[in-house]
């Protein structure tokens, strides 16, 4: 059998499944919105409001996660100490926790009977509860994003040439200057890649907001409500098609910018 024919036959099943169960449904989604669905998004202020709060939460998630993961990642990539691998295992354990479970963990942390509430009352203060708000959602998204971001950044940091840092130090650079001029530029592609994944995930994620069961009007919650409770199929379809195109574009752009590092 000629090579080309065999290649075509081998890849055909995967392509057929992709076409039938992804591209065709996406096509249905694109047209189901109709003119009414798309114009409703532009004219009704609550859809624009939810778009803005979704983008704000996603941006804040990305910024906070990148700062935390860079600090922890650079630390773990550059030092060796007893217990390091245990710490790394703990930090990456939540790697594939579903968003809905992460939502519950946020309730365990900052809910009505959460750890923060218990500690704050034990210290004689007010009962601090913030799980069921945008802050709780943000906390959940950061929780969700740290393990993956950390792994990406550590992989990049471990590939940095340690001689660059030594050279900078011997030339009299302060730790901050080394961070700014050597380390951060070195891991910049990984920062772009990991940041894009954070942003796209936080934009499209749904389970966490659902588990927190509050009136957090982020876009996926609005889509779900329009679809199930309002039976407003046109708006739900239009919103989710735009959401899908947007997250895909963010990831594609980041992959171009980072030279293929973004998944």
């Amino acid at each position: 059998m000629p090579d080309r024919l065999r290649a075509a036959l081998l890849i055909a099943p995967a392509l057929v499944v992709f076409l039938a169960f992804f591209l065709v449904p996406l096509g249905y989604l694109a047209v189901a919105g109709g003119a009414g669905g798309y114009s409703a998004i532009l004219t009704e202020p609550r859809f624009l409001r939810s778009l803005v709060s979704t983008l704000l939460v996603a941006a804040a998630t990305t910024a906070i996660t990148l700062v935390i993961s860079t600090a922890v990642g650079l630390f773990l990539a550059r030092v060796r100490f007893h217990g390091r691998s245990t710490l790394l295992a703990l930090l990456t354990l939540p790697l594939a926790f579903p968003g809905v479970v992460v939502g519950y963990l946020v309730i365990m942390l900052a809910g009505r009977q959460g750890l923060v509430a218990e500690i704050s009352t034990a210290l004689g203060g007010e009962r601090i509860v913030f799980a069921y708000s945008l802050a709780g959602l943000l906390l959940g998204y950061v929780y969700f994003s740290i393990p993956r971001t950390l792994l990406t950044l550590m992989a990049a940091a471990e590939k940095l040439d340690p001689r660059l840092e030594e050279a900078a130090r011997s030339l009299g650079a302060s730790p901050l200057q080394i961070l700014r001029d050597v380390l951060l530029p070195g891991i910049a592609p990984a920062l772009v890649a990991a940041g894009a994944i954070c942003f796209a995930t936080a934009t499209g994620a749904f389970g966490t907001a659902f588990a927190l069961a509050s009136r957090i009007d982020v876009l996926p919650m609005v889509i779900y409500t329009e679809f199930t409770l309002q039976a407003n199929l046109a708006v739900a379809a239009a919103l989710s098609f735009l959401l899908g195109i947007a997250t895909w574009a963010v990831l594609a752009l980041a992959r171009g910018a980072s030279g293929g590092a973004a998944a």
């Binding site: 065999r6 290649a7 081998l10 995967a14 392509l15 499944v17 992709f18 169960f21 992804f22 449904p25 996406l26 249905y28 989604l29 189901a32 935390i68 630390f75 030092v79 100490f81 710490l87 295992a89 930090l91 354990l93 939540p94 790697l95 594939a96 926790f97 579903p98 968003g99 809905v100 479970v101 519950y104 963990l105 365990m108 942390l109 009977q113 959460g114 750890l115 929780y143 740290i146 730790p175 796209a200 934009t203 499209g204 994620a205 749904f206 389970g207 588990a211 069961a213 996926p220 679809f227 199929l233 989710s240 098609f241 959401l243 899908g244 997250t247 895909w248 990831l251 594609a252 998944a263």
Partner: protein, 265 residues
Amino acid sequence: MKRGIGFWSGLAFTLLISAFLILPVLASVIAGVTANQFIGLSSGLTLRWVLDVWADYGGTVLLSLQIALATLMVTLLLGIPAAYVLARHAGITARLVEEALVMPVAVPGLATALGLILAYGTLGDLRASWFFILIGHVIFCLPFMVRAVLAVLLALDLRSLEEAAQACGATWGQRFLGVVLPNIRGGILAGSLMVVTLSLGEFNMTLLLHTPFTRTLPVGLADAYTALRTEMASAYTLIFFTLIVPLLSVMQWVANRADREGSGR
């Protein structure tokens, strides 16, 4: 070796972040086995809540396992041949196909699920069957299988291996089964663990795709979080953790081993 202030502050911050990630997990596990939530651990440990949850929601666990295994089978059959072709062909067509196959990861599950319902929701009994959820999981998980296998294939000198086998008179089937597959075991294992883990935890699509008769574990969890008392919700979460944490641990172990082998070369 003397450690400076930088080391200790870095360690303190890393410990703080680890605590942020692990403490809620511990709190949830403890709440799931504590006899009386309001008295605390001193009220004793019990498996009562776990058994209660199992009686009501055991079916969701079994369905999720069934769907995860079926998803694994389908992604193996579709993904390995696809990755092989993508690794052997360097042209623009192959790159476009690769780009297309990984696209479902970049689109939120909610959107994909809504599209599936619009396109096939009225097709026979499909909507009411667990196959509908399987379709969604396959679309979402296939990119992870393709990528895991492709990464290992690209690290091999596949062409030379196959040419050597061919020079010895091996047919394509013998080459694929006897040379290619054994060399990509690591990638297949990594991809399989990822697929099972993701399928077991998939919620974004499944919430829309499921029916009252096809409730999966994460869908049941979401239901428990809004409707049940803390100890029951925690016990349910504990059941989920006992499935998922061993998978994640093996995944870490496989990845570490691959790293060591890679750097040992």
